[in-house]
């Protein structure tokens, strides 16, 4: 195993934060991801983009070891995930949990510290303070003791983000952090991501909104069961690659998107605080 110390002092680009080799994942007999080979650079905001059912969430879950792949391997900073857990933060899809669960926003954020707290032990005052700080970073400090069902969708998303921040990871995997949130939360989430990039962290996020890919992200992974393309947004996020990713659907999609874009200034204004 690569020693942490040598890596930390070493040059930046030496070991990619995430390396996927020859990955194939299937649900029952239905393959979802085919032969994915991918190496992502450190310190970027990276979008995973592709149509519904393209295997975007599956890719994240396979990286986290939540799904067993048929073939292939995943390396985080050059080592298997099991050895790198504490370097990785995870934001699942908001809909994946029951928000009526009897717990507060603070409790949820504290869960991000469970890995460090370890078995049996209860969170201490120090951990609670840390959780408060993370809530502060997403502008949710005042909602710490709210029951989570009393939060809006955007606020719930920010709580999830705060929980990942509490993990103090170097690589963040986020499943649609921008899905179904209001304009205020969208700005808050983006600010957090940009702050992470400033600190040299890497963020890999599944992203649905093609309109904002170029604005929010530096690097893009185009996925449709197979890897279509991966690279800097400027050179990779092209009409041609999108056509390859979305097939014939994109022509319809782009028309719809243009129509949306025409309305957009008004729509943005309408989402008042």
């Amino acid at each position: 195993m690569q020693s942490t110390a040598s890596f930390l002092s070493g040059s930046k680009a030496s070991i990619p934060p995430l390396e996927v080799h020859d990955l194939t994942v299937a649900y029952r007999t239905q393959p979802v991801l085919w032969d994915i080979d991918l190496s992502l650079p450190e310190g970027y905001l990276i979008a995973i983009v592709g149509p519904n059912g393209a295997g975007k969430s599956t890719l994240l879950k396979a990286v986290l070891g939540l799904l067993r792949p048929l073939t292939g391997s995943v390396k985080i900073y050059g080592a298997p995930y099991a050895q790198r857990r504490s370097w990785v933060g995870y934001v699942p899809q908001r809909e994946s949990v029951d928000w009526d669960f009897p717990t507060s926003a603070l409790d949820v954020v504290t869960m991000g510290l469970y890995g460090r707290i370890g078995w049996f032990r209860r969170p201490s005052q120090r951990h609670t303070d840390l959780a408060y700080q993370c809530l502060e970073k997403v502008g949710m400090h005042d909602f710490a003791l709210r029951q989570i069902s009393q939060l809006s969708g955007g606020q719930q998303q920010r709580v999830f983000l705060a929980r990942a921040l509490a993990q103090e990871a170097r690589l963040y995997l986020m499943d649609e952090p921008f899905a179904g949130i209001d304009a205020t939360t969208e700005r808050a989430v983006l600010t957090v991501l940009q702050d992470l990039r400033k600190e040299g962290k890497t963020v890999v996020a599944v992203h649905h909104d093609l309109q904002t890919v170029a604005e929010y992200f530096d690097y893009v992974v185009l996925l449709n069961m197979r890897l279509v393309a991966a690279g800097p947004v400027g050179t990779t996020f092209t009409q041609e690659n999108l056509q390859l990713t979305y097939g014939g659907r994109l022509t319809v999609l782009s028309q719809a998107a243009e129509a949306l874009l025409a309305q957009r200034p008004g729509v943005k204004e309408a989402e008042m605080k």
Binding site: Y90, D98, P102, T103, Y114, R122, Q147, A270
Partner: protein
């Protein structure tokens, strides 16, 4: 009434079961596994019978071991059916397993009772429970199981919370979620097995789910929910047993279930915040406020024509505006009068000075929102009134100020009517 040795045993046994059922039931409820627990309980019946048939003995330890074995087998069958078949969903799988195992159990019980040695076997007590047969030995077993359950929940509280709330995230942190699930299921099996003697396979699930569902109504914290659930479980058990012992016609197991269910109904109705009653009251309060604000606004618009807002207006004029019956209007006017916002004399009503201010506030919200909709969303002016009717009651004072600022403090609404200024000149 003196407490006999038997009653004492029954009370103690039922209370312990209520406690432990309530605690574990919270987890079953939150993990949406109430039905699985029900299947597990029903699947325990053939195990009791098989143990008796195979050994010819009816020592409780042996029969309960059999119960645990087929209970686990039933739960495994559910999992295998769901995994193995793409078409059968979990609820159907549970339905199938529950009835198949239970039917098999009933067949075996019937067979045993027709056997020469079988009619005094007393196996049918496992159907609906029979607390009176509890002996001190059973109580010790129960105490042991409770100690295990309470200790496990206390030690793994943090990890169990993670499992119930966000399994995938917990797994990503490296906690063995599958192992914790197995642990929780084992505890459930133990509780179901001890519960069989008291409430029986048919009603067992109620001792798990009912107190937990009631507790959820009273609290928003996992720790306190588990605690309250345990307490409610004990309460139901004690009350049920005492009621049953005071009457000849009330069997203890079902009485416990009925008492717990009554507590649940009360909780659903009256618990603060989540209770249906308070929700209805809150809705009513909002409805009444909207009606009063509408009355204020109508009085204002009527006064606008003559530019004099504090003259008396007949109630029937107001009825014509919104189609509200005079009786309703009179009632609302009285409330406004009590708040010093209006004066009612006979069949006529007028705004007071502070009433006028309150009315202006409502009108301001309405007209500013109309401006907002027409300017920013470019809606036609004849489409904005209905939306503004709702927003005038919903906008907070802060939001209105921001709105006014963004719109550049407009003076007229889209219909050309003046927007009352925030501070009157």
């Amino acid at each position: 009434m003196g407490i006999s040795y038997t009653l004492w045993n029954v009370l103690l046994g039922a209370t312990l079961l209520g406690l432990v059922g309530g605690v574990l039931g919270s987890f079953a409820l939150l993990r949406r596994q109430s039905l699985l627990a029900d299947a597990l309980a029903h699947a325990a019946l053939p195990g009791v019978c098989l143990a008796f048939l195979l050994t010819g003995q009816k020592s409780p330890g042996l029969l309960l071991a059999g119960a645990a074995a087929t209970g686990v087998l039933g739960a495994l069958c559910v999992i295998l059916i769901v995994r193995g078949s793409q078409l059968i969903k979990e609820d159907s799988a549970i339905g199938i397993v529950l009835s198949v195992f239970f039917a098999f159990g009933i067949v075996l019980i019937t067979k045993i009772q027709r056997m020469p040695s079988g009619n005094q076997s007393g196996l049918d007590k496992y159907l609906f429970g029979q607390v009176a047969t509890l002996v001190t030995e059973d109580l010790w077993v129960m105490c042991g199981i409770i100690a295990i359950v309470v200790t496990t929940v206390a030690v793994f509280f943090k990890e169990l919370r993670l499992l119930c709330f966000d399994r995938a995230f917990g797994a990503s942190l490296g906690f063995p979620m599958r192992g914790l699930e197995v642990l929780l299921t084992c505890l459930l099996v133990m509780v179901v097995v001890v519960g069989l003697q008291i409430v029986g396979v048919v009603l067992m699930v109620s001792t798990l789910v009912t107190p937990a569902a009631a507790a959820r109504q009273w609290t928003d914290r996992l720790g306190s929910m588990i605690l309250v659930s345990g307490v409610l479980g004990m309460f139901g058990a004690v009350t049920g047993v005492l009621l049953s012992s005071a009457s000849d016609s009330l069997p203890p197991g079902p009485t416990i279930v009925l008492v717990s269910s009554f507590v649940l109904v009360l909780s659903i109705l009256f618990a603060p915040r989540r209770g249906i009653l308070w929700a209805r009251l809150r809705e009513r309060a909002v409805r009444l406020r909207i009606r009063r604000e509408n009355l204020l606004k109508d009085l204002y618009t009527l006064g606008e024509r003559s530019q004099s807002w504090t003259v008396l207006t007949p109630l029937h004029t107001l009825t014509a505006m919104r189609g509200q019956p005079a009786r309703e209007l009179r009632k609302n006017s009285r409330v406004l009068a009590a708040q010093g916002l209006a004066m009612l004399s006979g069949d006529e009503v007028r705004l007071t000075e502070s009433g006028l201010q309150a009315a202006e506030k409502v009108v301001r919200k309405h007209r500013l929102w109309e401006v907002y909709l027409t300017r920013r969303l470019e809606l036609p002016t004849d489409h904005v009134h209905r939306d503004a009717e709702a927003m005038e009651h919903a906008l907070t004072d802060d939001a209105v100020e921001q709105l006014e600022e963004r719109l550049g403090s407009p003076v007229l609404d889209p219909h050309g009517k003046p927007i009352p200024p925030r501070i009157r000149p």
